[in-house]
Symmetry: C2
Subunit: 377 residues, 2 copies
């Protein structure tokens, strides 16, 4: 997945230390694939996945909208050229003063999942559109989905009714099937819940208009994943099944699916050792770890593909760890990673599929190590 | 544990957003308590716990030495006024060019746990002192201790013999009993291993001189922990038991024990909600979470004390979560946290015992949120 442009950049520039290189051509291809797969859905790029200005500018120029998590992300999307009408404040957890600030910046679309959040928006962004997130079970997703966001469908009805009563535009329902979701049926189950909320409120004369189908679109790590086209078909079928010929406006919020496979991290083998003479597991220490950008290896959730200059020869299982003095900074230990026996201290290792959820997770300076550098080409 | 000075600072300055406030008087008291409890040990402050320049300068002025994890931390310790002879490069995972850079800066004391690392030091820091870290089981520690650092005692003998053969000073043995270690016997078990390495090499005519007893000294979170004096007595007894009247030079490396209880994080309640009408668990969302400085809540390992303006009234269990759009950004869910029923959105919450391992863990900008600010007073 390291494109020729990325390989050429690394060969020519020889950057020192670990770094991420993102190929904008891949981002463009991903955007066009989503557009083609779901032609009737508006695409809101999840800025949190990778807020590099070059990525935001490219997507803004392609016509993308933006899902943001904070006022800072709203400002980044505006700076990239997106009009306020193309920006959603998608975090269900907002300080009231941040709601006010977003409203000042022209934002009119807000996520909620409880009446308390509706109250804030009614006070500080009067008349705005709100959509209520409903809980899903997250089955089939690789990155854990807790109950942190969303509420039960029955409560979503109350929340949206409350919004309407306060003069807000009860605009729709959102859900998230869980990140790196490879089970196509997950959208079907969530859309059934969304339709139930639509139908229940319609009986009271409240007409919802929009379903925000969130993200979850996977990127390819070690296993093949269904292509955007397959997701598009599955989602369209589910919409048709649940909403008949009254399909609402829809939104998708790809993040990982938009930029994950566009980036490669260049790393270096700092040390290879064993813990005892007769130990049959090697420990391989890289110059990047859990606190330097690979936070998604938490509980070994995301398993990245590694490319080494010794590939092709015999391999043996390794424990992979980062460079810090933190014993929790271990990437893969429960399921050791097969790496070439010939791997040597100083070798350059490419970590593929790292365009999303890496740079911004990096710690500011843990153990004195600099945050992950990024080059967008 | 919020001192009057910290409370006065917060009341006067009213900083916006989450922030850490560290009281240097507490750091000074902790240093003096370690010095009194272990009068024959040199104190190497673990810079990674909190590298704030004010803390490093205070400790340098008190006579502390410094345990560093990277060239950047070495430079910080030097900038704070520590002479190179008072700095240890304590990371067992070092790039060879970083060993060279440390040597140029005057560093002569290096940690190793394998022959490969010894080779780097022999090439780039000829004649330096090395100490070999041995594995311990970490039983009794609250923060997980993996097998990432150290080697079996039998291998430590080989590693130190190898160092000697390459012209290095085979200086001693180190261990780490695991962070937030409350079992006083942990040091006894580790010192038994250290003595075995000393004795085995002595038979070959190699005389080790130093035992680095690492950190692990706990700070008080929710439960009382033994005082420095109790650790001092337990460690001295164990040294006497295993080394008789030939007690070697000793080093300790407190980090959490030096600064943990000196800091308090000021946070704000952003949202309190439920997931369904009949839900009996409230979700309390703060403006700081796992990616904003509270990384040690990973797997709910460290349980911080919270102080709210509603304390004293009736409490009920809450799930505590951070402000980001990441479903993994939940602090306490498996074991919900009892908080006052009267707790209200906008309330200021103090998180105590947060002077160590918070600011530097914070992500650069996850979800657009700024890294944790710190004030050292």
């Amino acid at each position: 997945m390291a494109t020729q442009r990325i390989l050429d950049f690394l060969a020519t520039r020889r950057p020192d230390g670990p770094c991420l290189v993102v190929d904008l051509d891949v981002v463009r291809d991903n955007y066009l694939a989503f557009e083609k797969a779901l032609p009737d859905s508006r695409i809101f790029y999840a800025v949190k996945a990778n807020p590099a200005p070059e990525i935001l500018r490219l997507l803004a120029s392609l016509g993308s909208s933006f899902d943001t998590a904070s006022v800072a992300e709203i400002e980044m999307a505006l700076d990239a050229g997106a009009a306020p009408a193309r920006i959603s404040y998608g975090n269900t957890i907002k300080k009231e003063r941040d709601v006010a600030r977003a409203h000042e910046l022209g934002i009119r679309l807000f996520a909620v999942d409880c009446v308390e959040e509706v109250d804030k928006i009614a006070r500080r962004a009067p008349g705005a559109r709100v959509f209520c997130r409903v809980l899903t079970d997250g089955a089939g997703a690789e990155w854990p989905l807790s109950r942190k966001f969303g509420c039960a469908p029955a409560m979503a009805v109350d929340v949206l009714r409350h919004a309407k009563s306060l003069g807000l535009d009860a605009h729709g329902v959102s859900f998230h099937v869980g990140s790196q979701q490879t089970d196509l049926d997950a959208w079907d189950r969530a859309l059934a819940d969304a339709q139930w909320v639509f139908g229940t409120l319609a009986e009271e004369g409240i007409t919802l208009k929009m379903v925000n189908m969130g993200g979850g679109f996977p990127t390819r790590y070690l296993r093949d994943v269904p292509a955007a086209q397959a997701y598009g078909q599955a989602i369209f079928s589910a919409l048709r099944k649940h909403f008949g010929n009254r399909i609402p406006e829809t939104i998708i919020e790809p993040g990982r699916g938009m930029v994950g496979n566009a980036g490669v991290i260049k790393s270096e083998v700092v040390l290879i050792s064993r813990k005892a003479e007769n130990d049959n597991v090697r420990w391989v220490y890289l110059d990047i770890g859990k606190f330097g950008g690979l936070a998604e290896t938490m509980d070994e959730a995301i398993r990245y593909p590694f490319v080494t200059p010794r590939d092709g020869g015999e391999t043996a299982p390794c424990v992979l760890a980062g460079p810090t003095c933190d014993s929790a900074d271990v990437l893969y230990e429960k399921t050791p990673y097969p790496l070439p026996l010939a791997l040597t201290i100083g070798d350059e290792v490419l970590i593929e599929g790292t365009g999303a959820y890496t740079t911004t997770y990096a710690s500011v300076a843990f153990n004195g190590f600099e945050p992950l550098k990024a080059y967008v080409i």
